[in-house]
Symmetry: C2
Subunit: 418 residues, 2 copies
């Protein structure tokens, strides 16, 4: 039997089979909280194609990104790629249609993204990502709004300030640092990449890379250790404090983000214990819409992305995954087959009243049906019974309290609602 | 600027820009009703990878399907394809994990599917599809349950029996028809394909194709015109009638479905006026799990798929698309910048109470902020005001009734809930 591709996931309903760790219920729980929080912040949902012209990515990130893409030539001989990130797509969409929308544009999306990562244990080649962006506002008030949203998305999943922290940094601060040391502006991104790799690389290697850029490693380390809030970051922190969210952020210039297109604030969300990779990351990218649209539109922008993989692991470790059983409101037991038609009527009645109702599709022994109701974690059973005088009544049994009541078959949904 | 690929869609938030007909709000409305109805029927959600080994499709449908696939060799030189349908994936998933689940397994999914269709106006190369399947039950009671679900999914979107009908047919009935005329069992699928194309092809062409199969066109036409319910279909109709859903189906042997793997009941949902292509289609495929799993698992199965494209068009024409404005519960007006911090506190208070709250990220004139609240279709505005004695109060204005009330800043969320 042909198996699924390496690095791709099947999402099963709970209870999960052995060796299948990805729960569709947990995924939908996460998606629900993502959507609900974005809605509270006045963000609107959009989506784009999972397959895009290859040049959408090579224009932005250079040809070397191709090694990590699921790219190919389609049957019309177009160079195409499965999307590795959402920002180029949303920049294109905004550039196309920005005149139809009042600014600032506050949008979110939940795309599945694809990267041909080098194969390692647990290394995936697809993930889902919450993408939230604000277009058309250059003020730090937008920076604070997007960081507040990030914080509240994590809180909506049950995480507290003991679980995570937002490390806040600034490309501008690093730009000024580099300029003050006579750094060549054309090599600024090269410098940022060394800073980005600092935590993962041996000091000698970093020092060697910094030397030709005219920067000493000790100066970089001292700047990070101090992490004194520059004015643009202090404004964001004050804004967050006014919301009561100041305790969720700290200035940390050790964060600089790898991507080339950031121009202002950058930030990452981390678990406080440092057990996981970044939970989310983002920043301001004021030039990207102009670049992607080849000058057709020019809007300041910022946003963040939060993947589902690290997040799901963190929720599991922190015991913040809810139970997904007990989704059935009523199991209708059919023990007398002459009452099957009438029982189907009750099933339909319950479902039309918005209840999740289930029943045995075929004749089965009463105790087997009851056992199934328990396995499903059903809230109650309903059973039609024919009395001595031939009239049919419905017995509703609460499986928790074991309370029983009898109602007319046409009154079952009402009796449950009451 | 590189445009999106032909046949792919961007989904924008409403109000939609010119020339961008695909609403993300409508899509999410449809997805919501799909999920909600499946839940009422006790179906559980799953998902699989959008990229699969190519052989998953060629094994089932033969090599000719490749012309319609987005297939390629990945960087590990695997022959892969973006999924053109969900059934092979779910058959693989069920075969892998069926022992972990009680039967019948009732599952649904909302995959995006991809086909390299010949390019025509309005012809898409991707769509979303509700897939609902039951595994492990061969009884006609499962057939009725899946058809009932299909009916109620359409009803949940506001469609009535005046809008749509389910055309019910049977591969077995056609098999018996073919056998009774001495048809070669090995050529049965060839015969089904002629029947499938009957409505779209000139009679002479159909007659010519039928002749070598030993069947007369007139006999086929007479069988379809009569469409007398065979016993297996009558059982399904009786079951649906017991639920009060009998009026939504009719027997119509003109439906036979193109795919090779159907073995029993087949059905399609059509708009009554016949303006659109099929809204949904499905049937029983008792051999597919065995085939896909190479004998590892063997479960009877049936299901249906419902695409989002025809459905969205139908909802628009029938005026069943709800309004998607007015998603903001409160706009907080900040007219006095010395009250911005306190106003941000009110915004946060509202959002933490589950309300969608918005505000101007930067200083703006009061009338401009108010106008924006109206454009957003907000339910109310909230404005902090400093009284003569220096105390700050919140004025809540209902934008519909124009009613105003004053409360303490810390009481805004409570006042709105009350």
């Amino acid at each position: 039997m042909s198996d699924r591709l390496p690095g791709f996931r099947d999402f099963y309903p709970e209870p999960l089979p052995a060796n299948e760790p990805w729960s569709c219920d947990l995924r939908q729980h996460i998606f629900g909280r993502w959507r609900e929080t974005a809605r509270r912040y006045g963000f609107r949902e959009y989506d784009g194609p999972p397959l895009e012209p290859l040049e959408l990515y090579t224009n932005k990130s250079g040809a070397e990104i191709v090694a990590q893409l699921f790219n190919f030539a389609d049957k019309g001989d177009r160079a195409v790629s499965m999307r590795p990130e959402m920002t180029p797509t949303v920049a294109r969409m905004v550039a196309t249609a920005e005149r139809a929308y009042k600014k600032p544009i506050k949008w979110f999306s939940l795309p599945q993204l694809f990267r041909y990562e080098k194969q390692q244990k647990g290394r995936l080649r697809e993930h889902f990502q919450l993408n939230c962006d604000i277009f058309g506002e250059s003020d730090a008030g937008a920076d604070a709004e997007i960081v507040a949203l990030l914080i509240d998305v994590l809180r909506a999943l049950g995480l507290t300030h003991e679980d995570f922290v937002i490390r806040l940094s600034s490309r501008q601060a690093w730009q000024r640092f580099f300029a003050a040391r006579g750094g060549d502006p054309a090599r600024a991104y090269e410098f940022y990449q060394v800073v980005d790799k600092l935590e993962r690389e041996r000091p000698e290697v970093s020092a060697e890379k910094l030397a030709p850029l005219g920067v000493k490693l000790e100066e970089v380390q001292a700047f990070i250790t101090a992490s004194i809030p520059e004015p643009e970051l202090q404004t964001v922190i004050d804004n967050l404090s006014a919301r009561g969210l100041g305790g969720f952020v700290k200035v940390d210039y050790g964060v600089i983000r790898g991507l080339a297109y950031y121009t202002g604030i950058v930030f990452e969300a981390f678990d406080r214990k440092g057990e996981f990779r970044a939970i989310a990351g983002g920043g301001r990218y004021d030039q990207l819409v102009k670049q992607v649209s080849e000058g057709k539109a020019d809007l300041p922008a910022l946003g963040f992305g939060m993947g589902d993989v690290v997040l799901a692991e963190l929720l599991k470790v922190r015991k913040l995954v809810p139970s997904f059983t007990g989704t059935v409101d009523a199991v209708v037991l059919i023990e007398d087959e002459t009452l099957r038609a009438a029982s189907l009527g009750v099933v339909q009645q319950l479902r039309e009243a918005g209840r999740a109702a289930d029943y045995s599709l075929t004749p089965a022994k009463g105790d087997k049906q009851f056992k199934r109701a328990l396995e499903l974690g059903a809230t109650r059973t309903v059973r039609l019974e024919r009395g001595a005088d031939g009239t049919v009544v419905a017995k509703i049994k609460d499986l928790k309290t074991r309370e029983e009541k009898w109602v007319a078959p046409g009154e079952v949904a009402t009796a449950i609602a009451g």
